[in-house]
Symmetry: C2
Subunit: 576 residues, 2 copies
């Protein structure tokens, strides 16, 4: 493709609403254009990257026996009612009524439709196993779309669903997909990690996430330095590296004291000269599925710890993480503002993080603005509903395998779930087993965010000048800067290299615009093709072309006759 025949406009300025490098670079490089918040048009170059990644995914799945189909984006309410997810999915599921008053939603995921497709056709165990996948546009009404394609509303996803006769076979399917995903992200050529993950409201009880590592990643990953354990912080068990033994200190009399203006743990810690991990903080959540009703519960944590909403969700058996109470609601429950609240005297369930269990004579809010209580002890001063691991684990904590946790940030790009029979039971997706008895089908589901992965690759692979595409999904392997387009000889050298590379299956972009070399080099760095060729008047006179490696910025001069071979070997090298 030649720039003069493309419809590509790069921007010098950073877009106002882009917060992370990959989003900034995709907009500046003309890769995407916003249509509405979280909704984009993909330009020709972005689409090439997306299609290349789709093809990698398709090949790895097909060669493992998965079958590609295409399900609809518009789905009838009735199917979602069967699993109760019409309401359970919440407002992220975009609903609509058609002209006849029938209700539909936009597919955010396709468990219901696939299960329906399968139950209509599968009769006996002979029809199983099957693993169906599709690459399709999905929609979720994100409450706050941001970061470009990273958290968009409309996005391209590969979703796959496995259907098996029994648990053993389902586990085999799960492992096969683990293997396929590992192969996919290896071919993509990015650094990634696989971690244990929460199952969210998809259901099932086993799930792993595939993360592209990147500093700006939304997820925190905790990985044991022994290398056998890795988890998303959401579900990572929290164990102190040096657990505090049960205090042997004498239990003292509880007393109230004034703490005017001390509202945060940091304030208290500084003023009382007590380390934050010996203070106890009280947080309030609503244990209700329904945003309209409030069912307050209190959570006690050490001042140095943070609550893990997913652990709380799982403890309370909710479909979604519970919401924090507002200051108003807290006041209604305790009589005081959040900074002065504590467990003593509360009439609501009180959940205690394990880290608090062995503390004694600690300080909590007095449920009276500007006052705290000291020498508080449980169960003497208040009743604990349950003690549970409720805090976020962090780097330095002890890993379940005995190692020490290290922290990484990642962007979730793939997720595999073992679902069991949650959907097949709800939807009567059964088969006749070898003994002629009806059994529910064992299921798994497996997603890869296609458009998200493409941006995640940029988030990991860029420098101050622009994108540094992994060659696997670069829109083009080679970017030719034709520096003197008016000079017929130079243009002819550039064109013949361009043609020759295409003949050998190496795709090539050529900047044939009437622009200064400096502008072309800047744009080439911004667009980020792995190999750049500078073809200019001086070089051609000397019989040479410059070959630049985008990542290392190494530049070498190569004789015109050798350029194609040089590029070919560089491509092989970058693919390895």
């Amino acid at each position: 493709m030649k720039w003069s025949k493309s419809f590509l406009f790069t921007l010098k300025e950073n877009p106002a609403d882009a917060e992370i490098p990959s989003h900034i670079l995709m907009v500046r490089g003309g890769y995407i254009k916003k249509v509405a918040p979280g909704i984009f048009t993909y330009g020709t170059l972005a689409l090439r990257s997306i299609r290349k990644f789709e093809q990698i995914v398709r090949e790895e799945l097909s060669q493992r026996g998965c079958l590609e189909i295409l399900m609809p984006m518009v789905q009838p309410r009735e199917l979602w009612e069967e699993t109760n997810r019409w309401s359970e999915m919440g407002p992220g599921l975009q609903k609509m009524k058609n002209r006849n008053g029938h209700e539909f939603c936009l597919g955010a995921t396709h468990e219901e439709v696939t299960t329906d497709f399968v139950r209509q056709q599968v009769k006996s165990y002979r029809d199983l196993p099957v693993n169906l996948f599709q690459i399709q546009t999905k929609f979720r009404d994100e409450i706050r779309p941001r970061f470009g394609l990273m958290r968009g509303r409309e996005f391209i996803m590969k979703d796959a669903y496995s259907f098996d006769r029994n648990l053993d076979d389902a586990q085999k399917s799960y492992r096969l997909m683990h293997e396929a995903y590992t192969a996919i992200f290896k071919r993509l050529g990015v650094k990634f990690r696989v971690v244990q993950a929460d199952t969210g409201n998809i259901g099932g009880n086993q799930s792993e996430e595939f993360h592209v590592l990147a500093e700006s990643g939304e997820d925190q990953l905790l990985v044991s330095d022994k290398g056998t354990f890795a988890a998303n912080v959401e579900i990572c068990p929290a164990q102190d590296a040096e657990p505090k033994p049960k205090s042997s200190e004498e239990v003292k009399a509880m007393e109230e004291f004034a703490t005017p203006g001390l509202k945060t743990i940091e304030d208290l810690s500084r003023s009382l000269k007590v380390p934050a991990n010996e203070l106890v903080k009280t947080m309030f959540f609503s244990a209700s599925e329904d945003a309209k009703t409030v069912k307050p519960v209190a959570v006690l944590l050490r001042g140095s710890d943070e609550v893990n909403p997913v652990k709380l969700k799982n403890l309370l058996k909710l479909a979604n993480p519970p919401l924090l109470l507002t200051d108003e609601e807290v006041k209604g429950v305790t009589g005081a503002s959040p900074g002065s609240c504590g467990p003593v005297g509360l009439k609501i369930p009180i959940y205690m993080d394990s880290g608090v269990e062995n503390l004694s004579n600690y300080v909590v809010g007095a449920n009276k603005d500007g006052f705290h209580l000291r020498n508080v002890n449980h169960p003497r001063d208040f009743k604990v509903t349950a003690v549970h691991d409720l805090r976020l684990a962090k780097a330095g904590d002890r890993a379940p395998d005995g190692g020490k946790l290290q922290a990484f940030r990642g962007i979730e790009v793939g997720h595999i779930f073992y679902l069991g029979t949650k959907y097949s039971k709800a939807m009567n997706a059964n088969f006749l087993n070898a003994e002629g008895k009806l059994e529910p089908i064992e299921m798994g589901c497996y997603g890869i965010g296609i458009s998200r992965t493409v941006q995640a690759a940029i988030e990991q692979c860029h420098d101050k000048d622009g994108i540094v595409w992994p060659i696997s999904i670069a829109p083009f392997a080679v970017h030719i800067c034709l520096l003197d387009p008016q000079d017929e000889k130079v243009a002819s050298v550039a064109n013949s290299i361009y043609e020759e590379l295409h003949k050998r299956g190496i795709d090539c972009f050529m900047d044939d615009r009437d622009e200064r070399p400096g502008v072309k080099f800047k744009d080439a760095d911004l667009l980020g093709m792995p190999i750049r060729l500078n073809v200019g008047g001086r070089g051609v006179t000397a019989g040479e072309v410059e070959v630049v490696n985008r990542r290392t910025k190494e530049m070498g001069k190569t004789a015109i006759g050798d350029v194609v071979a040089t590029v070919q070997s560089l491509v092989e090298q970058l693919k390895a």
Copy 2:
């Protein structure tokens, strides 16, 4: 692909809701599965056909300089308000509100989004021309989805939009797309016709449709036997083969007479012994854009003619064809039921088809149930608002090029429009011309129904036993019936042919099920791959394989060693 590893279930019975062969065959062949009315899941085989057709379209457009992009399916109301199509598109445009109360629609077409994409980036004439296309899932809330993919709600479409500096260039773009479409449907390998067409509510003033010919086609096409004129009946000018001269008959006195029980033109014609083309019928429509208000108009036609709603729409300058009044509404306007109505005494606009103009002393309804008037004459007895060509043309009529019209039925699969500046003016999509003056961009738009075309090809290419795929989009070129899968020698011959064909780039489906030969032959005919190979015990013992041409049903025996070469030459032959 082997049947045992596919997820394919054929049906013996015709589905209850399928009315035309292609729909029946796609359902029976397991190609598609209904999710909701007009909404389908495409199975693996259907998806292969769709992808093959997409690739043909993509190649033909790309080689003509069109650029592929991908626009969103969910589009903000604001863009559609700019062109007034948020309301003009009517209830076929599926609308929805998101969690924040913002309004969106599902893209039924993408003029607004593309024009927005272009206006944000184009500055000067140097940035033009550009032709952008996408292959994407679209949604229209069809009032009565039917015929499978032929008139579905969710469907796959290729839409392209051209942007040019001036009318000349826009016409060049239009002709280039005409050429591309012709090449596409030639490569598809079906019989098709290009006809002049109405521009609907897309706008613009030049448009042609590409139709796959098929008996069950929804559209009637009229083609001159001179070969220079072809049009959709919707816009085909109607001229009598032998126009009736102005009547020289003496004008008689109008009189009312009783016609008890005579309600139709046929009744009247029989009873009065007057041919239908000398009777005048009166029809009533509402000239209102808005279904809630009624603006009655009357239309007069010869009894032998049918009204053309598109001509009436264009005469009345409406966005959509006007609706017929209900019997109730007619009664409100005339005081009589539709069978007894006429123009005399009406206080509403009266439009007369040209075929009525030269009649005199004719019969019309008396606006009194059970009575008609004879010897009616215009303008003596009523005032005509306008005389216009308002009837449907038909086979045998005179063509504009002087030939005689012949009728065909077709399925519209492609449509090209010259749009002019309708959208660019409404949306301020301008460019600076060479003189530095702002001008609106000249536009065209071009669609191909991808999923529709695949079914239309079946509608044209099938026989009583099943589908007869054109090889261009057959899911597989070859279908191997492995007749004795348990016989190792037979299976090994079949497998090596299968492997060898794949190596040569010929895709192959193998029925390796444990079924009787009769079942396999029936399914092979139903599924419709162009070439079938029967590999069975008797043949293998004799060193032979049967090669069957699906279309002609010709069968030949070929030595095992020659099968691959025979298939290869048959494939070449079928592609030619």
